[in-house]
Amino acid sequence: MTEQSGHPSAEPTPPASGMDAASTALLRERIRREVVRFCPPWLRSEIDDIVQMTWMRLEAARKQDDGNRDPGATLIARLAFCATMDERRRLRRRREVALEESGNAASPEREQPSSAAQAAEIRRAIGACLVAMLESRSLAVTLYLQGHGTAAAARLLGWGAVKTENLIYRGLADLRRCLAAKGITP
């Protein structure tokens, strides 16, 4: 990424408002650690720019605050996450546009190796089955498939743990039946 893309280049950081140079360097290192945590491997070459974008968002947030307080780990993590994922979305969109403009906008099935295409097909089938399912079961199963435990899923959904667990159980049974009807079996 360069300045041509409309993004800031990774230049030496001026001291943040209300902070000395040493504190600024420490803060920048904290941001970098968070960006590295969220950055997928294929985006690693953009880390410096994403750190800079996070820095600018943090400065904007601090200006709205009193500007002197430690921004806190949660705010830094949130800003680093959003900057990283925004950049991920932007580059993937650009890649797609480039493919379309070059006339290579083939179907995903043609571009991908057969195993990847098959995985994508199964993923789409799971998505279709989830959409067709009773909504409460669908929400609970989606969180389960994402890796949430029952307690965490219950907290997010605003339901009790027992109800959530039952919904996951029944929803998974629905999902297996739906996939089997599509010819996909475990």
Binding site: M85, R93, R123, G127, Y144, L175, R176
Partner: protein
């Protein structure tokens, strides 16, 4: 085919309708439970058919939300195997304890799959004063971040602290106000390393003076 693995595949797929994707801020807030239930439900509905946003959600999840994967079984079939397993575990535990008469409970750290350990710097069963209930452990690596969970022995949660940068946690006296003097507390540490991996300690015991 494992359903969860199949669901998590294809994270670099282009969303079928990118314009419908929630903002990254909204994904973060929903995954962290910082929205009301209804907006969270809306984001989850989107994840069903968008593997890209589903991948973002997983990146935003708090480490403790990822609980050990359990094989779900019918609720009505749950209790008999659990009861049998409990009897078996107690029996095996007794055998193990009885066969190690010289073993000293010295807070030996747990060795994890990553080879990292979390070693407590508070002696096992040490009594700490209510006003300065300081839990300390040896740093796992320089930039690790820590979560500490403190429970009673019946697993009632006393307090939890997240995103700690230092390998210590001073339990607020307020959190201990309902804990009787002499009670034993159980504390665990989870370290999130720079590479995103997680090291979980074993349960350590400490007493309230």
């Amino acid at each position: 085919m494992k359903l969860d693995e199949a669901f998590r595949a294809g994270e670099e797929d282009v969303p079928p309708d990118a314009a419908a994707c929630p903002s990254t801020e909204r994904v973060w807030d929903a995954a962290r439970g910082e929205l009301a239930a209804e907006p969270i439900h809306e984001v989850i509905k989107h994840l069903r058919t968008c593997s890209s946003c589903a991948a973002e959600w997983r990146a935003a999840m708090e480490p403790e939300a990822r609980e050990a994967e359990a094989v779900l079984i019918a609720p009505w079939r749950r209790w008999a195997p659990l009861a049998a397993a409990a009897v078996l575990v107690v029996g095996v535990g007794l055998v193990v304890v009885l066969r190690q008469p010289d073993r000293v409970s010295d807070g030996t750290a747990m060795r994890t799959a990553t080879g990292r350990e979390i070693e407590p710097l508070v002696a096992e069963d040490q009594a700490l004063p209510r006003e300065r209930f300081l839990l300390r452990w040896a740093p796992v690596e320089e930039d690790a971040r820590y979560t500490v969970k403190v429970d009673l022995r019946d697993l009632t949660r006393v307090t939890v602290a997240r995103d700690l940068h230092e390998p210590e946690f001073l339990v607020p006296a307020e959190a201990l106000k309902d804990v009787p003097s002499g009670a034993t507390l159980v504390w665990r540490v989870e370290a999130t390393l720079v590479d995103g991996s997680c090291v979980v300690s074993k349960a350590f015991l400490v007493r309230l003076e």
